[in-house]
Every structure is written in C-alpha cells, then in structure tokens.
C-alpha cells in the first residue's frame, strides 16, 4: 500500500494516516463538486450573467442576481452537498459496522423512519416546516432504536441488523404510503416529498441546520474512524486491540443515525446515496478501510449533480431529487446484487 505517511497533530494526541490514492481521489471529487457548485449557481430558468452571479456570492449585485443566486441557488446547492456528505458518511459507518453494503441507513429503514415522523406530523397534526423537520428527526431516532433493539440479541451487527432493518423499512414504507393515499391532494403532494426526497425550496435554514449537524457529528465519527476499522476484524480481535466494542459501536450508531435523521429532515429520504457513495468511494480509492472522508465527499457530489439533473430534466417543473438518485442507485443496487449472486455461486 502506498501510504503517504502519518500526520500527527496536538503532540500526537490526534494522528491519522494518509493514503496517497485516497488523497488524490478526494481532491478529484472536490474539483468535480466545485464545478457542479459553480454550474448550480449559474444555470437556471432565469438567466443571471456570470459576473452578476459571482458578485452576488461575494457581495452586492443586481436585485435578481441576489435573489436567485445568493438567496436561492447557493443555499440549495450547499444543502445538497451537505446532505450528501451526511448520507455518505452515515452510509460508510453503517456499512462498515454491519460489514454489509446493504447495511446503509436508507436500506435498513432509518431514512424511512425519519420520513414517517415527518409525514405523521405533516398529515395528522398539520405541522409547519419546523415541526415537520423535528418529526423527521424523532422518527429517525425511534426507528433506529427499534431496529437496534430488535437486532440486539447477540450484538447488533451484520446480517441480523440488515434483515431486521429491511423488514422495518418495508413496514414504514407501507405506512407512509397508506397515510399519503388517505390524504387529500394538497397534503399528499407535500407528503410525497417525504416519501421520495426533494430539495425544492431548500434554503439557508436547511443549509445552516445541516452544517451545524455536520460540525457536531462528523468529528465524533472521524475520531472513532480507527476504532471503526478495527471493529472490522471482529469483536474479539477488536477487544484484544483495546477497543471497547459496545460503547464505541453505540456512539457510532447514534452519530450516524443523527446524520441520517438531520439529512432526512432537510431533504426527505433521498434514496441510495448512503448505499452508493461509500461503495463507489471504496472502489475509487482502493482503500480497505471505512473511507469516511471520500464517502462523504462523493455523497455530496452525487446529490448535487443529481439535483442539477432533477431541476433541468422536466423544467419548468422539477423532479424530486430522490427520483434521480433512485434511478442511478437502483441500477447500482441491481449490479451489486448480481455480483454478490455470482460470487456466491462461484
């Protein structure tokens, strides 16, 4: 392996190793993300000249440029990137903990649980945007607790959590669809966003909420990054290497559920980003570990580009971004299952 060497900070209290190809890949993803970000600021149904757009980001510009670029396109694009990062990181944590690509929060029902919370608040209690987001957060935590407790016997990991999670997820999807079918059209359209995931009218409040969540939760996850890779070798081995298995796992789960829940509160249960980003990141970097940073960055790029497509494809209307990620991720999931099936046979 081409390790670039280790970096030590704060008198060696914080240290991490850099993997040359990972650094290179992360840099490339960042460049792509920046390109997509600039595209998101400049392209839209209302034409804002490039110069005006740039001035709107960095200060004063024309009224329309400030409205569309600074108040709408920029926060929406940032929300997309930040939600994508949260989903990518959460996906990497769960896939690593369960040692299974299907262990992603979008597959095992945490995202669906968050939308159930949102839909219940929206339809049964007629809550506004803030209450709906809080409902999503609560729903995510409750469904994760339920899955965790149901799968707890003998340690919550591996196939057990995946299978219990897929079951819970199916029930939650059915429940959400039931609620939406019963609702009148107005609410049903709004609720559809909570079933598919959308970034329509997502602006500074969502971008700021997502940024705060990342600032709080990502350092926690990164600090446990090494313990997470050690857990990969099995509980006994990890204990032998001095990792306190259950507390570490619990903190990681809570942090990753928190990331998923806030992401869902901001954009709905956007499908497959949490599943695909860590997998593709791992293949790009060729690194064996959980690869939290590349997974997060790739998630951000993936969601931002998907949202650009979602906005342009049926303009002047727009598709929910979850439809686009679903289409991309569905193909990937099919390929993944096919590969697993072949390797299972071979």
């Amino acid at each position: 392996m081409t390790a670039l060497g280790s970096v030590r900070l704060l008198d060696g209290r914080v240290s991490f190793r850099l993997h040359a190809r990972s650094v290179w890949v992360c840099g490339a993803i960042l460049v792509v993300t920046l390109g997509a970000l600039v595209t998101a600021l400049v392209v839209g149904d209302y034409h804002v000249p490039l110069g005006d757009a740039v001035r709107a980001v960095f200060g004063e510009s024309t009224r329309m440029a400030e409205l569309f670029v600074a108040r709408r396109r920029l926060p929406r694009a940032l929300t997309a990137v930040l939600v994508g990062i949260a989903l990518g990181v959460a996906g990497a944590v769960f896939q690593s903990l369960t040692r299974n690509p299907l262990g992603s929060p979008d597959i095992v029902g945490f995202g669906q649980g968050a939308s159930t919370g949102a839909v219940v608040v929206l339809l049964l209690f007629g809550g506004g945007a803030t209450q709906t987001a809080l409902g999503a957060f609560a729903g995510g935590l409750v469904s994760a607790a339920a899955v965790y407790l149901l799968a707890l016997k003998g340690g919550a990991h591996g196939y057990r959590l995946v299978l219990v999670g897929i079951g819970v997820s199916a029930m939650l999807i059915a429940f959400n669809n039931y609620l939406v079918t019963r609702a009148e059209l107005t609410d049903a359209r709004a609720a559809t966003v909570w079933i598919v995931g959308s970034l329509y009218e997502r602006r500074w409040p969502e971008a700021v909420l997502m940024a705060v969540a990342l600032l709080v939760l990502v350092p926690v996850v990164l600090a446990l990054s090494r313990a997470l890779s050690v857990l990969d070798i099995g509980d006994e081995g990890a204990t032998a290497l001095g990792v306190r298995v259950e507390p570490t796992r619990l903190v990681l789960i809570v942090a990753a559920v928190g990331l998923t829940a806030v992401a869902t509160a901001c954009a709905g249960p956007v499908a497959f980003v949490a599943l695909v980003a860590p997998q593709v990141a791992r293949r790009l970097t060729g690194s064996p570990g959980p690869g939290l940073v590349p997974a997060g960055l790739l998630g951000g790029a993936l969601l931002l580009i998907s949202d650009l497509v979602a906005q342009r494809l049926t303009s002047p209307g727009e598709l929910p971004v979850g439809v686009v990620t679903g289409a991309v991720g569905g193909v990937y999931l099919a390929w993944l299952l096919y590969r697993e099936w072949r390797s299972g046979r071979g």
Binding site: Y46, L67, F68, T181, R182, T186, R189, Y200, P316, G317
Partner: protein
C-alpha cells in the same frame, strides 16, 4: 419619487398596449382606473400588497385562480402545470393559448416566473398551495404577490380574492350573479329529475372515490336542490377515500356522474365495468351513468368549471 414615476410609466405603457390591442372587454375599465395609480390591498393572509391599479401581466399559480381570472376576462401569461401533465387544465387551455408554464401544481418555479416576458405585474398565489412565508417573500421580489384564498376556501372566495387583486370586484359580482342565474335556469329545466339523487364519482387509477359534501361539484349539485345518496353525505372538501370494488353500492343513485383525470383512471374504470357489482347498480341498469370531464368536475373548481358542471347536468337531467 423615481420609483413612483417608473411605476406610473409602466402602468401608462400597459394601458397604451391594451388600447393599441383594442377590442377586449376590460379595456374601458383599464383606461379609467389607470389614473388612480398603484393601490394597496389586503390579501387572504392579511398581508398588505401594493400593486398596479390594473394589473395586466398576471401569473396564476393555482388552477382555481386561473379559472377565476379567465372568468373575469383576464388572460394570464403564466400558470402552473395541471395534474394532466405538461399543460394547464384541458378545459381552460383554449382560453390561454400563449400561457407559459411556470412550475408544478404546488411547486411554483420562481426562476421561470421571473423569466417571463413580459414581466409579470401580479402573482396570484392561491388554493392548493399552503402559504409559505419565505417563498412569498421571494415571489414579492419578482412581482407583487397576492394570496387570493386559503386551502379551506371555496371557489367563490377564490374568485373574490382574484378580483380583489385584479381590481375587478364589480365584475366578480357579475360573474356570481351569472352563476346564480344559470343555477336557476338549470333547476327550472330539471322537470321530473328535480328531486333526483345524484352520485358524483371520480375514478382514480387506485379505484373510485366520491366527492364529499363540501367539494366544489357537490356544492353546485346542492345549489340545484339535487340530493346525494346517504353514503356520500360525508364532511370534507375533497374526494373520499377510495371505495372498495366490493362496496360499489356506495356509488349508486338515480344518476351517476363519473369523471376521470387521465388515461390511467379511464382504464381502471374499463376494468371495473366488467365487474358484476358495477353492472348491478341501478344507475348502470337504467343507463344513467354520465361520463364527464374529471378536471373541471372534480378539482377545486371556479366559475368556468361551474358553468361546465351546470351544462353537463342540464344536458343529462334536463327535460
């Protein structure tokens, strides 16, 4: 001062353009009120909105408002897509041939609205859309935005809200009087069917629903003094929950008005027609099933839609 002059210039220009076009019914009104300058109105949320005396370039985000604006003799330049797909509601499309689509039914696209040419001078934000303060603030940066009615309001409230924004309240009263007159004429034409029981059904791809008591078409049927089957007398402004194909008797009455919104609904209906529970309904046996355009009948309605509903009822039940 400069802004006032600019606004005045815009109004004057609008008036000139209108006069140049000639013809249209609203011309005289425009000319006389343009001198009044901008005016401030209170919208359905209680917000104060300042807008040109006679807005000319109108954007209607809700179908109800589009219907109302057309009934008031105004041709909006922008409107949302309907549930039928990439157009405004079919029954209104011929009235607004040059209309630009500016978003999905409950998801206005602000950039598309701002990109309209000519620039809109009022945005009607009504029914279907729960008022979103942040979105309304942004819309107001594009053009004065009037919340014409709230989701719970009926088509008459929406008409009044639209008329308030377009400074055409007298015309709205006239539209309502026309409706009342048409109701009376239709009622007089019913003859033996004056006390008939009518069932109002929308066939969705998931199956049939009936229209509840406060739904648009139900209120028109009530205005005509027609009765509804007991099973359909439930409270609500929307369609009911889907009715099971095993309980189709809920849909039965002397007459059954049946609308679908799109091809999927129509094919679901075709399958149901082979169902014995359907063929045993007394309305079906008496050949009293009237197929109607589901869009004006089963959406939130408006004066134009009300006219279509009354015409359809008269054609079917009139003596």
């Amino acid at each position: 001062m400069f802004r006032t002059r600019k606004l005045f210039a815009a109004v004057a220009l609008a008036t000139l353009t209108l006069t140049a076009c000639g013809g249209g019914g609203t011309d005289t009104g425009t000319t006389s009120s343009a001198a009044e300058g901008p005016r401030t109105i209170t919208d359905a949320t209680g917000a104060q909105v300042t807008l040109p005396a006679q807005p000319k370039n109108v954007v209607a985000l809700a179908e109800t408002d589009l219907d109302a604006a057309i009934a008031l003799g105004v041709t909006p330049i922008g409107a949302s897509k309907s549930r039928q797909g990439d157009s405004v509601a079919g029954y209104l499309a011929a009235e607004v041939p040059g209309v630009k689509l500016v978003g999905e039914i409950v998801e206005p696209n602000l950039e598309a609205i701002a990109a309209l040419d000519p620039k809109p001078d009022v945005i009607l934000y009504g029914h279907f859309i729960e008022p979103d303060p942040a979105q309304i603030a942004d819309l107001n940066a594009i053009a004065p935005t009037v919340v014409t009615s709230l989701v719970k309001d009926d088509w008459k409230a929406s008409l009044k809200g639209v008329a308030n924004a377009l400074n055409l309240s007298a015309k709205a009263d006239e539209v309502i009087r026309d409706y009342d007159r048409k109701v009376k004429d239709t009622k007089d034409s019913l003859g033996a069917n004056a006390n008939a029981e009518v069932s109002l059904v929308r066939w969705n791809p998931q199956g049939p629903t009936y229209l509840q008591q406060q739904h648009f078409a139900s209120t028109i049927v009530a205005d005509l003094g027609l009765k509804r089957p007991r099973a359909q007398q439930t409270e609500g402004t929307g369609p009911s929950d889907p009715v099971s194909l095993e309980k189709l008797d809920v849909l039965d009455a002397d007459w059954l008005f049946l609308g679908t919104l799109n091809a999927d609904g129509a094919s679901a209906l075709e399958q149901a027609e082979a169902n014995p529970t359907w063929t045993q309904l007394k309305a079906v046996r008496a050949k009293h099933v009237v197929t109607v355009d589901g869009v004006p009948w089963t959406s939130r309605g408006g004066p134009v839609a009300a006219g279509i509903v009354l015409d359809d009822i008269r054609k079917a039940l009139g003596a």
